[in-house]
């Protein structure tokens, strides 16, 4: 959305097809392809810990993408996203355990089932907006959380339910190294489909509903349909992310899908950039890596004179949590448009150097 085009001088398009590609320049496209190739090579060099972080970024990133379509693109609000994430996780495990459906099919099915639930909880959006809608989605969060805790047949109650590893043609993706590819494939497909959606009819309709719902309606857009559809899409992606999470951890317990996780999802899309596909991923990377960075920082601090002077000892852990909060606040003040906006500015700077515009 920056006003600076990345297209070099003399690069004239001769047909509309070439003017409506995902990437403005072939360089940008090649960089992304190189990035994917690089990611494919990661399991060969990275250790388990790094891989587990990347897998986390993958499944959380898919769920964050869903929330960004709802909050960033359609302008609705949801603080019950973690519940949909959890619903996807339990559904996938349940389908696999009780109906012996292969995990390969369970994951998309879990997404669809969650989409139905999301659609149902999105129905209030047809009539209410803003803070009122936020409270309605908060109800979704608590209803589903309560459902997870009580429905033993579905979730296994407090002991949780077992999720079998992902298998394909007899090969079991049960190590971090192999499961990484499953998550990578899902992430790429999810982001690609979302990008396509946003440059076609229904994606434009969603943004139109956000920007000016009255004139969107005059343009022939059914507001109720697109508001609830947006909830269904968000829940679908949350369900896929949740299912990937379930088959990664192999045990799903109901405690994790609480309001805090919902807020963290919101933080991801706000930090990454509302209304930006790329921002969803950047925000997730930020939120996953920030605790790691802060952890490294505080660990380096322990034993030094600062530690002894302040008498921190075991409290260094709390320092980490406070630092995370401080960084997020700082981010919202200095980078309110998110990481995606910063990225565009870096690109513009690169292109325009040594001039400022």
């Amino acid at each position: 959305m920056s006003s600076v085009g990345m297209r070099p001088c003399g690069d004239y398009k001769t047909d509309y097809g070439r003017d409506q590609t995902i990437f403005e320049t072939t360089t940008a496209r090649n960089f992304v392809i190189a990035g994917i190739v690089l990611a494919c090579l990661m399991p060969l060099v990275a250790d388990r810990y790094v891989l587990s972080l990347m897998i986390q970024i993958g499944y959380l990133g898919i769920a964050a993408l869903g929330l960004n379509i709802l909050v960033g693109f359609t302008g609705q609000i949801s603080i019950g996203h973690a519940a949909f994430f959890g619903f996807g996780a339990f559904t996938s495990a349940y389908l696999n355990n009780h109906f012996a459906i292969p995990v390969f099919f369970c994951i998309p099915l879990a997404g669809l089932a969650t989409a139905v639930v999301g659609f149902a909880f999105g129905l209030p959006a047809a009539r209410i907006k803003g803070l009122y809608l936020a409270i309605a989605t908060l109800a979704a969060q608590y209803i589903l959380e309560d459902f997870f805790a009580r429905s033993y047949w579905f979730t296994g109650g407090p002991s949780g339910s077992i999720a079998q590893p992902f298998t394909l043609f007899g090969f079991s993706f049960d190590s971090d190294r192999s499961y990484f590819y499953v998550v990578l494939a899902y992430t790429i497909v999810a982001y690609l489909l979302a990008t396509n959606l946003m440059r076609s009819r229904d994606g434009r309709a969603l943004v139109a509903v956000r920007d000016h719902y009255l004139s969107a309606e005059m343009m022939g857009i059914n507001l109720t349909k697109y508001r609830t559809l947006s909830f269904a899409i968000a829940a679908f992606l949350a369900g896929i992310g949740g299912a990937l999470y379930a088959h990664y951890l192999s045990v799903v317990s109901s405690e994790g899908f609480n309001l805090l996780l919902s807020v963290q999802f919101l933080a991801m899309v706000i930090i990454g950039g509302l209304g930006s596909i790329l921002g969803s991923l950047l925000g997730t990377v930020f939120m996953v890596l920030l605790p790691e960075a802060m952890d490294a920082g505080t660990r380096a601090l322990s034993g030094t004179w600062i530690d002894t002077a302040l008498g921190l000892k075991d409290n260094v852990v709390f320092l980490r949590d406070m630092a995370i909060g401080a960084v997020i606040i700082g981010f919202l003040i200095f980078e309110p448009d998110g990481l995606a906006h910063r990225w565009r500015q870096i690109k513009a700077y690169w292109k325009l150097y040594p001039f400022s515009y």
Binding site: Y16, L197, S215
Partner: protein, 266 residues
């Protein structure tokens, strides 16, 4: 008759914005609604476009009763409109804004749209891009087609809004003060576009406008509203010379020697 309004009344609680207004617009007409501020012109337009449901009376479009239809249904039937206050999708590009106008003509949905290359969405999008480019050419906004709508100047935004309404391929286009806040040159351009729309694109135009010079020059027929009632209807000349219209605009001119009678048309 393309559009028929029969005995339209619109009340907001105790305030009667419109009381028993009836008129008809023929196919191919360039029709203006004028009146002093608060006369009910925009309420009238909202009743036609579906924002308001009139508290009394009926709206007929091509002989069909559309009084109870939602605005998005009416768009599909062929009614497009622009707004008095800009109502663009501020964060979208000009191109996307206009493409939203093609919404009801496009067929790709969430599934085919997401798959894009498979299932024909790409082909369809490109075909409609072509149609949109024709409108862009017509309104001379080629230079800003990739700009974000919210960053444009006022005059350009008005033009983009017109482009978006044209993209609907409406049979009837409703323009709510298309020239408000424009300078003379922009007004002349806009008047030209409206005439072209009417004569070359064959759209029936219903327009609200305060600039009497423009209204009198380009309209085929005019109605005058005052306090929610129709006080005159006819050709521009007939309306100009109507004593009730003079009264509405200028106050009681009889016996007042200083009154600027005959100044309505400037």
């Amino acid at each position: 008759m393309l559009l028929q309004l029969a005995d339209i009344s619109m009340a907001f609680g105790g305030v009667r914005a419109l009381s028993g207004v009836s008129f008809e617009v023929a196919q191919g007409e360039l029709f203006s609604i004028i009146g002093p501020n608060g006369a009910g012109k925009t309420s009238m337009l909202n009743c036609i476009s579906g924002r308001y449901r009139p508290t009394g009376g009926r709206v007929l479009f091509e002989g069909r009763d559309i009084t109870g239809l939602t605005p998005n249904h009416r768009a599909r039937l062929g009614i497009g409109r622009t707004f008095q206050n800009l109502a663009l999708f501020g964060h979208m590009s000009v191109l996307d804004n206009i493409l939203v106008g093609r919404h009801h003509l496009l067929k790709n949905n969430i599934l085919t749209g997401s798959l894009y290359w498979i299932g024909g969405a790409r082909k369809e999008e490109l075909a409609h891009r072509r149609a949109v480019e024709e409108i862009i050419d017509f309104l001379e906004i080629q230079a800003v087609r990739k700009a974000i709508a919210g960053t444009l100047s006022y005059g350009l935004r008005k033009r983009v809004e017109l482009a978006r309404a044209i993209a609907l391929r409406p049979k009837l286009i409703l323009l709510d003060e298309p020239m408000a806040g424009m300078n003379l040159e922009e007004k002349e351009d806009m008047a030209r576009f409206i005439i072209d729309l009417n004569e070359e694109w064959g759209m029936t135009v219903v327009m609200i406008e305060h600039d009497m010079g423009v209204v009198m020059d380009i309209s085929h027929r005019v109605i005058v509203l005052d306090f929610g009632q129709k006080i005159a209807e006819g050709t521009p000349e007939a309306v100009l010379n109507d004593p009730q219209v003079r009264m509405a605009y200028l106050g009681d001119v009889e016996g007042d020697a200083d009154a600027p009678s005959g100044q309505v048309a400037q």
